[in-house]
C-alpha cells in the first residue's frame, strides 16, 4: 500500500502525459516515415523519406518557410530592442511606472484573433475608405498602400507590426523586473566614480541583465518560429491564398482544412520545424555561452 | 512512561557510492525513567536529532528496540505512539490561528476517540492555559513573537495528552532573554504535567540547567549518561570534559611522574594511584586559587573583570588550547604579576590517558 500511494497521486498526470505527449511524440516520427498514408483506410505503402521530399519541394512550404524566416529575423531583434528601451524608460521615471506597466501588459491578456481583426480594419483599404493608417500616411504626404491585399512587403509589415505588438508585453515585463533587480549600489558606486551614463549602461546594466536578454532571444526565436494565429487573425484562415502562410500554418493545413488529410506530410513538416528550432536554439546557446567566457 | 532504548542503531546508506554507511545512532542502550526531563546533548551532527526521530517514529530504526513502558513501539508509526513533538522552527501552520493550530491534532482523531466540538474547545483552552497563551488564541503565527509561537507549538504537542514529550532544540531560535524565560517555562510545564520529556540541544548550559539527567553524545555514540552535576564533576573522557562547562576546561600536555601530576616541570598535584605515563591534564576554570607560593604558574595575558568574577586570560607553554581561562574572585583589584602562581582545587583537576582519552582515577595524597 505504502509503495503504491505515490503512484496513485501521479497516475492522472502520467496517464495524460503519456497519452497526449509521449505517445504522440513517438507517433509523429512513425507518421513522417510512412509513405502514402491514407487516413481513411489507415494503410500506407512503405517506409522512407518521401514525405520529407514532398514537403521540401512543395512551393507552399517554401513560401511558408520564407515567410517564417523573415518574420523571425525582423521581429525577434526588433521586439527585444524596443522592449529594452521601454524597460529602461520605465525604470528611470519617478512616477506612473505601475500605470504604464499595466497598460503595456494589456496585449498579453487579449485574444489574438479578436484584436487581430481590429488591426486588419486599421490597415485595410476598402472600396469606401482608405482606412485609418492610410489616412495618416496620406496626411503625412505619402500615398495610400493596400496593406491587406497589396504588395508582399506591405502584408509582411503588418504581420511584423502585429507580432511585435503581441510579444512585447512579455519581454517588457521580464526586462523591467531584471533591471529592477540590479543592485542599486552598483549604480551608486559607478556614479560616485563619475562614470558616464552610456558607460554605466554598457558596462553595468547590459552585463547584469544579459542572461535575461539571452533568455528572451531564445524564447523569442522559438515563439516566432511557431507564429500562426497572428497571421490567421490578420489574413484569414486561407493563408496560402494570401501568400502569408507560416510553417505551423502549413502543418495545420496539411492536417486539416481545405488541403488537409495528410498527417504524414504534417508530421514531416513538424519535424523539419522542430529541427530548425533546435538548431537555432543550439546556435543561440553556443553564442550566449561563448559570450560568458 | 519510562522509555527504554535497547541496542538502538540507525544506519543511513551513503549516497556517494563506495563510501561507508553513516551510522547516526550506534548501539544506544539506556533507560529514561518515568516523569523525568532528559537532555540529549552533543555537537551538531552527533545523532541527537536522529535519536529523537527514532523515538517519535519519524524514522525507522535499523536494529534494536524502543519501549514505552511495557509496549514495544519499535515498528509503530508515529501517530500510534502518542508522542508530542516540538521543533526548533516551531512548525506552526502559518495559515491557521493559534487555536486552529492547537486543535489540529484533535481533528485527526477517529472512531471512538473522536471528540465533539465542545470537547475540543475545552482541551484547547486547557492546553492554552497551561502554556499561558489564552490571549493569543485567535492570532496567526506571524502576529506572535518567537516565544509565543513556541508556546503554541508546545500546547499543540500537549493537547492530545501524549505519553512522551519530545523537544528538538526548542530554544535555539529565540533571543537570549526569551530563551531563559522559555527554558524555565518548559521546566514548569514538564513538572506540572509529569510527562517523560526528551530535550535535544547543543547548548550544554541549557541542558545542565533544566535536565534531570543528561546524555552526552558524539558521532552517534553515547558518551555518558547521568545527573548534570555528576557528569560535569566526573566526565568519563576528554570529550565530555571539554564539551561541558563555560568557559571550557583548560587542557594541558602533562604526565604522571613519581606520584604527582606534572605540567612542564612543575609538580602541580601530589596524587596516588596511576602509574607513570603521559596524560592530558584538564583543569576547570574555577579550580585555581591565587597563591604566590603555589605550585603552578602561568603567564598572564589580560584580566577581564565581569561583575563578581575576574577572569584571567593566560598562556602556558604546555597548553593545548589557544589560551587558558581562569575564574577567580579577587578581593581587591590587586595588581597581579606577569607570572601568576596558583594552588589547585583537587576536585577540579582531571587526568586523561593520552591514547584513549579516558578519565584516569586518582586520589590526592595529603601533603604533610
Amino acid at each position: 500500500m505504502k509503495k503504491i500511494k505515490p503512484w496513485l497521486y501521479l497516475a492522472p498526470a502520467i496517464l495524460f502525459l503519456g497519452f497526449f505527449m509521449v505517445y504522440p511524440l513517438i507517433d509523429v516520427f512513425i507518421y513522417s516515415f510512412e509513405e502514402g498514408y491514407n487516413s481513411a483506410s489507415q494503410t500506407f505503402r512503405g517506409i522512407g523519406l518521401y514525405n520529407y521530399m514532398y514537403v521540401l519541394r512543395d512551393p507552399y512550404f517554401i513560401q511558408a518557410l520564407k515567410n517564417t524566416f523573415i518574420l523571425v529575423i525582423i521581429t525577434v531583434p526588433l521586439s527585444t530592442g524596443i522592449a529594452l528601451l521601454i524597460a529602461l524608460g520605465l525604470n528611470s521615471i519617478p512616477k506612473l511606472k505601475d500605470l504604464f506597466q499595466t497598460i503595456f501588459f494589456l496585449p498579453y491578456v487579449t485574444n489574438t484573433l479578436a484584436v487581430g481583426l481590429v488591426f486588419m480594419i486599421l490597415f485595410k483599404k476598402t472600396a469606401y475608405s482608405e482606412g485609418l493608417v492610410n489616412m495618416l500616411i496620406t496626411g503625412l504626404g505619402g500615398s495610400a498602400i493596400d496593406f491587406m491585399d497589396g504588395p508582399y512587403w506591405a502584408k509582411m509589415f503588418v504581420l511584423c507590426f502585429y507580432t511585435v505588438w503581441i510579444v512585447l508585453p512579455f519581454k517588457i515585463l521580464i526586462l523591467t523586473s531584471a533591471l529592477a533587480s540590479v543592485d542599486e549600489n552598483l549604480y551608486k558606486a559607478a556614479k560616485i566614480d563619475g562614470t558616464s551614463r552610456f558607460r554605466i549602461f554598457t558596462r553595468i546594466t547590459i552585463p547584469m541583465i544579459s542572461p535575461m536578454i539571452f533568455y528572451l532571444i531564445i524564447t523569442g526565436f522559438i515563439g516566432a518560429f511557431k507564429a500562426y494565429s497572428d497571421a490567421v487573425a490578420l489574413f484569414g484562415t486561407d493563408l496560402n491564398a494570401a501568400g502569408m502562410n507560416t510553417i505551423v500554418g502549413y502543418i495545420y493545413d496539411m492536417l486539416y482544412g481545405n488541403g488537409g488529410g495528410y498527417p504524414s506530410y504534417a508530421s514531416s513538416a513538424a519535424l523539419i520545424l522542430f529541427a530548425v528550432v533546435l538548431t537555432i536554439t543550439c546556435i543561440n546557446l553556443t553564442i550566449s555561452n561563448s559570450g560568458k567566457d | 512512561m519510562k522509555i527504554v532504548l535497547d541496542h538502538l542503531t540507525k544506519r543511513f546508506s551513503n549516497r556517494t557510492k563506495g563510501l561507508d554507511d553513516i551510522i547516526a545512532v550506534n548501539d544506544f542502550n539506556f533507560e529514561i525513567p518515568d516523569g523525568k526531563l532528559i537532555g540529549l546533548l552533543g555537537p551538531s551532527g552527533c545523532g541527537k536529532s536522529t535519536t529523537l526521530n527514532l523515538i517519535s517514529g519519524l524514522e525507522k530504526a535499523t536494529s534494536g528496540k524502543i519501549w514505552f513502558g511495557d509496549d514495544d513501539v519499535t515498528d509503530l508509526p508515529p501517530e500510534n505512539r502518542g508522542v508530542g513533538l516540538v521543533f526548533q522552527s516551531y512548525a506552526l501552520y502559518p495559515h491557521l490561528t493559534a487555536r486552529q493550530n492547537i486543535m489540529f491534532p484533535l481533528q485527526n482523531l477517529k472512531g471512538k476517540d473522536k471528540l465533539t466540538k465542545e470537547q475540543m474547545n475545552e482541551k484547547v483552552l486547557e492546553a492554552a492555559h497551561l502554556v499561558q497563551i489564552e490571549r493569543y488564541l485567535d492570532s496567526k503565527p506571524n502576529q506572535m513573537s518567537g516565544g509565543q509561537q513556541q508556546r503554541v507549538a508546545i500546547a499543540r504537542a500537549l493537547v492530545k495528552l501524549p505519553r512522551v514529550l519530545l523537544l528538538d532544540e526548542p530554544l535555539s531560535n529565540l533571543d537570549a532573554r526569551l530563551r531563559l524565560a522559555t527554558r524555565e517555562e518548559i521546566r514548569r510545564i514538564q513538572q506540572e504535567t509529569k510527562l517523560t520529556t526528551v530535550f535535544v540541544t547543543h547548548d550544554q548550559e541549557e541542558a545542565m540547567s533544566i535536565s534531570d539527567m543528561i546524555v552526552v553524545m558524539k558521532d552517534g555514540i553515547m558518551q555518558q549518561i547521568g545527573r548534570p552535576q555528576d557528569v560535569y564533576d566526573h566526565p568519563v573522557n576528554l570529550f565530555v570534559a571539554k564539551f561541558l562547562g563555560n568557559p571550557p576546561i583548560n587542557v594541558f600536555d602533562g604526565k604522571i611522574e613519581n606520584g604527582a601530576i606534572v605540567i612542564g616541570n612543575e609538580r602541580i598535584l601530589e596524587i596516588e594511584g596511576p602509574e607513570d605515563q603521559e596524560v592530558y591534564v584538564g583543569i576547570r576554570p574555577e579550580g585555581f586559587i591565587v597563591d604566590e607560593s603555589g605550585p603552578f604558574h602561568v603567564n598572564k595575558k589580560q584580566i577581564e573583570i565581569m561583575g563578581r568574577d575576574t577572569s584571567i586570560v593566560a598562556t602556558h607553554p604546555n597548553m593545548i588550547s589557544e589560551s587558558i581561562r581562569i575564574i577567580v574572585t579577587l578581593d581587591s583589584r590587586d595588581e597581579l604579576p606577569s607570572t601568576v602562581g596558583f594552588r589547585l582545587k583537587p576536585g577540579k583537576v582531571e587526568i586523561f590517558a593520552k591514547d584513549t582519552e579516558n578519565n584516569i582515577e586518582y586520589s590526592v595524597r595529603e601533603s604533610v
Binding site: 528611470s92 485574444n111 512579455f170 | -
Partner: protein, 291 residues
C-alpha cells in the same frame, strides 16, 4: 572665489538635463501606451457606430456623436455569440479545474512523497517541457478523431489537462513549506491527503490562484486545437467564433457588428486582468511564456 557660482551652474545644468530626459522618456512611453491602447479604443468606438454611418465615413472619424448599441444586439442575435461565449466559459472552467486537480496531486507526490524513481521521473517530466505542441498535436488530432470525440467538450478538454510547467512551478512552491510542518502533522496522525488539503493547499493558495488565472487566459485565447477539433459551430469557442464571424457572419462588411463581438469576447479577460494584474504579472514574470 567663483566656486559657488560654478556649483550653482552645474546644479542648474543637471536639473535641466534631468527635466529634459524625463520629458523625452514620458513622451516616448506615452506614444507606446497610445499604440497599445488605440486598437482597444478603436474597437470600442467602431462597435458603437451604426452600420450606415460607419460605411459612410470615407475618412474614419475618431469619435461618434450618435452611439448605438444595435451592433451588440446584432452580435448576440445574428450570430450565436452567446453560445461561443458559454462554450468558452465551460471549456476554460472545466479544463482549469481538472488541470488543478491533476497538477496538485502530481506536484504533491514529487514534493513530499518518497518513492523509488522519483528523481528520474521528475527529470523525464521536465524534459517534456521542451516538446513543442506542434509535434504532438498531429497525433492527438488523429487520436481524438478516431475516438469519435470531435465536436465534443471531452475532445476539446482532454489534451490540455496536464501542464508539466505548472507541475514544476507548484512542486517548487510546495517544497518551500518547511519539512517540520510535515513531521509535526505526521506525529499528530495526519494522513498525507489531509495534510495536502488542510496545510499545503491553503499555504500555497496564492500560487494556485495565479496558475488558475493563467490557465483561464490560455484557454480563453486558445485557437489552434479548437479549430482542428471542432467544425460544428455548436462547439465553437470565441476564437473560432470570431474567425467564423469574419468569414461568413453578418455579411463580410458589417464591421461595427464584428467589433461589438470582439469587444464582448475581450472584456472578460480585460476585467480579470484589471482585478488581478499584480498577480498575473508576477506569475508571468516567474516563468510563464507565451507561445
Amino acid at each position: 572665489m567663483s566656486t559657488n557660482n560654478d556649483y550653482l551652474s552645474i546644479e542648474k545644468k543637471a536639473r535641466r538635463n534631468y527635466l529634459i530626459r524625463n520629458i523625452i522618456t514620458y513622451t516616448l512611453l506615452g506614444i507606446w501606451a497610445l499604440v497599445v491602447l488605440f486598437p482597444f479604443y478603436w474597437m470600442l468606438l467602431t462597435s458603437v457606430k451604426s452600420y450606415g454611418s460607419y460605411n459612410a465615413e470615407y475618412v474614419p472619424k475618431f469619435f461618434t456623436l450618435s452611439p448605438t448599441l444595435q451592433n451588440y444586439v446584432d452580435a448576440f442575435t445574428q450570430v450565436p455569440l452567446a453560445r461561443y461565449f458559454g462554450n468558452t466559459l465551460i471549456f476554460a472552467l472545466i479544463t482549469t479545474a481538472a488541470m488543478l486537480v491533476v497538477i496538485v496531486l502530481a506536484a504533491f507526490a514529487f514534493a513530499r512523497l518518497d518513492f523509488k524513481g522519483r528523481n528520474p521521473l521528475f527529470s523525464l517530466f521536465l524534459s517534456l517541457m521542451m516538446i513543442p505542441n506542434e509535434l504532438v498535436i498531429i497525433t492527438n488530432f488523429v487520436t481524438i478523431t478516431n475516438l469519435g470525440l470531435r465536436n465534443t467538450f471531452t475532445g476539446l478538454i482532454l489534451p490540455s489537462i496536464t501542464s508539466v510547467f505548472y507541475i514544476y512551478l507548484l512542486k517548487e512552491n510546495f517544497e518551500q513549506i518547511p519539512e517540520e510542518l510535515y513531521k509535526a502533522a505526521k506525529v499528530d496522525g495526519t494522513s498525507d491527503f489531509k495534510y495536502l488539503m488542510k496545510v499545503m493547499i491553503p499555504i500555497c493558495q496564492p500560487t494556485i490562484v495565479t496558475i488558475a488565472i493563467l490557465k483561464i487566459i490560455e484557454c480563453w485565447n486558445s485557437y489552434v486545437w479548437p479549430r482542428l477539433i471542432t467544425d460544428n459551430e455548436k462547439y465553437f469557442l470565441v476564437s473560432n467564433g470570431i474567425q467564423a464571424i469574419r468569414e461568413n457572419g453578418f455579411g463580410r462588411e458589417n464591421i461595427p457588428a464584428m467589433m461589438a463581438a470582439v469587444v464582448v469576447i475581450s472584456v472578460p479577460l480585460i476585467i480579470l486582468f484589471l482585478i488581478f494584474h499584480k498577480k498575473i504579472m508576477a506569475g508571468v514574470s516567474r516563468g510563464g511564456t507565451k507561445g
